[in-house]
Symmetry: C2
Subunit: 182 residues, 2 copies
DNA sequence: CAGTCATTTCAGAAATTTCTGAAATTGAGA
DNA sequence: TCTCAATTTCAGAAATTTCTGAAATGACTG
């Protein structure tokens, strides 16, 4: 499978960005290729589109599946596995955020709670700092949970409103703050 | 410098999480240690607190400075550099988000724009997908820019409101959507 | 059930990243 | 200007991650 110039550039970019995104080059490239393909691709096509080994493709696809970022499809009379990315970019974004939260935030939240459960150890500053960090993460993940539930339509509207939201917020009563009162 | 048990556990956790966060173990550990210290620490103290080489500490601190995550301080009559993390967790969060955006998103946005500027190449599906992705990123980064400008007080209020925001949004007129109309 | 095709696994090779110790550089004070 | 503590740089060692080819596994077909 010969890639078009556009595909090639896009794929290489995603490969390079991979390490910053916490995935490896091949995984980034596979994802990019699938993202730009109108048709599902099988492992063979991906392998020679990218010029990597068949086994590398297999591992990359496994990784993408663990991220829920690809879907497997089958065609009648063809026993190979075909892969696509979800059509809807919002769905992709939701998945990405959910997975990153799971990998990058949840373990730390768990750890912080564990540390607090062990009870005061006499290091007041550190204990306070840890509690503060846990509260902050809880506030943010709580907000995330709420946003996660919103339909895309509303989410888009909210994002489009942007800073106008500040006005709306001010109109509601009951200020609450986690920050230190001066 | 002997770490307390609490510091030790916290530091080790941040070290392990480092790779998921796109920093290396030492950088994660240095940050964790500074985060839990009520007093600024110098490179020497960090080095023996963590049990890494002096040069590793130096490189880690340089990295953290490039992320804007530590501040350097000096004491009269002491020419060593001392380091702290910002007190305010919200400030830290803002910095983190800004830096991750800069490293993980901006380069891709630039790339997508470049690809579009090169003009139609005949691969309609890929071109459409790229445009769609660019629009999505622009919507989200635009929203981010707006949120970034809000004072912490309002941000906290917004997060606390959570799903109640949906109601507020509905009350404003002028629905707008990037999603496909059914 | 033998043969074929597709996929996965896995040990080791290759590449990359992290870390160290030694040397070089910096800069404040004598 | 010289000295020396502090810091940075950097080449190579160590550790880790990624990638490959070969072998194993699975699963359908005649």
């Amino acid at each position: 499978m010969k890639l078009t110039n556009l595909q090639q550039e896009f794929v290489l970019h995603f490969g390079e960005m991979g390490s910053r995104w916490g995935i490896n080059r091949t995984v980034g490239q596979i994802y990019a290729l699938l993202f730009l393909s109108s048709e599902p691709l099988n492992a063979e096509q991906i392998t020679d589109g990218l010029g990597v080994s068949r086994s590398n493709t297999s591992m990359g696809l496994k990784e993408l599946q663990s991220w829920n970022l690809v879907r497997m499809k089958h065609f009648p009379g063809d026993r190979r596995d075909y892969f696509t990315t979800p059509e809807d970019l919002w769905e992709i974004t939701r998945i990405l955020i959910a997975e990153r939260k799971k990998r990058e935030i949840d373990p730390t939240l768990t750890k912080l709670r564990e540390l607090e459960l062990e009870g005061p150890k006499g290091d007041n500053y550190a204990e306070a700092r840890i509690a503060e960090l846990r509260e902050m993460i809880e506030l943010m993940t709580g907000f995330y949970d709420d946003m996660e539930k919103l339909e895309t339509e509303r989410l888009v509207k909210m994002m489009t409103l942007g800073s106008k939201i500040a006005g709306l917020i001010d109109k509601t009563s009951g200020a609450l703050s986690l920050t230190k009162r001066k």
